[in-house]
Symmetry: C2
Subunit: 201 residues, 2 copies
């Protein structure tokens, strides 16, 4: 063998490029040449690394789920106290606005879930891990005496929190003028306040 295979790096670049292409053109408008242009290579090169386009899209989805979760965790971990950690979690789950690239990407990819088991699994995994994050925050907060949970198990409350995030996220991305990030965050926080009995949130 001669020329070094840095296929990993190449594939990584293509995954990023495809992510950008999907976020701004949508799955329906995704074209190989757009991915190629975004990556600064020819269409042939995209096919060279991903003869099956579906594999690339799946890689994008995996990557998006992992980095989104890592990013949220990072935000939460910047805080120490249970209340502040919960606030950070709430703030990190909503799109910054209609053009939030990560959320646009995730919603586009989610639309594949009903016809692809692999995508459905990724979406379910994202949901489960977000629920786990909130569950932990709620339980730790309750143990520390900061929260008085409105219901048990905490997982039920956590699922509702994630559902609200997803619901508002959908509307923010869809440019619903009645749902901007600030209102959504206020309503989400109000809900969290209710179920934790914690007025400081």
């Amino acid at each position: 063998m001669a020329r070094p295979k840095n296929q990993e790096a190449r594939r990584g670049a293509l995954i990023d490029a495809a992510g950008r292409a999907i976020a701004d053109r949508g799955m329906a408008g995704l074209r190989i040449k757009d991915i190629a242009a975004e990556a600064g290579v020819s269409a042939g090169s995209v096919l060279y690394y991903y003869p099956e386009l579906d594999d690339l899209v799946l890689a994008v989805h995996q990557d998006a789920v992992e980095s989104y979760l890592a990013e949220r965790q990072r935000h939460v971990d910047e805080a120490e106290e249970p209340v502040a950690r919960m606030s950070a979690a709430l703030a990190s789950g909503l799109p910054s606005g209609p053009d939030d690239a990560m959320h646009r990407l995730l919603f586009e990819l989610h639309s594949l879930a009903d016809r692809s088991a692999a995508h459905a699994t990724l979406m379910a995994s994202l949901f489960a891990r977000e629920v786990a994050l909130y569950s932990t925050l709620l339980q730790v907060g309750a143990a520390a005496g900061a929260f008085t949970l409105a219901a048990v198990p905490a997982g039920d409350l956590a699922r509702n929190l994630v559902a609200i995030e997803d619901g508002y996220g959908l509307h923010i991305i869809a440019r619903n003028p009645a749902v901007d990030r600030d209102t959504a965050l206020a309503l989400l926080t109000a809900h969290a306040r209710t179920v934790t009995g914690c007025p400081e949130l």
Copy 2:
């Protein structure tokens, strides 16, 4: 003029056919011939009535929003008492399962909102009217003494209810095994119980 124009009826049939096609192939996989096949006509006929396919899709969206809302209202109106009406509202906002045609259709169409102002408007209108429905139910229930609202304005509670519906709806359609209709309804109802202070829900 000779031959009677029953274009209205023809267009109506095409709207239905397109709705079915979108619900089961998705916007990304929508083909004129599928709409035509669904309507039992040739592809040419579809173009004859809708030279611009976007107009047909927009008509489908309008129609879906109206009939979905009408259907929900009908469900709610089958009950008399505030509590029963609220239960009916809660039960009518979630997909029956991953194959619920109306919800599949609505979610597909919603994905157009971020790139089309017309679709965004329809989606926003649907949201606003669902919020209005819940607002009314909450206020009437409170006035009747059945509910003790956890917050004012009632519209805030209503928006959270709709957001939860949308969030769980998304996951049910996406075949998330952790979110089936029954669990989602139970969690949604639990939330409603909390914010209304009404144990009978």
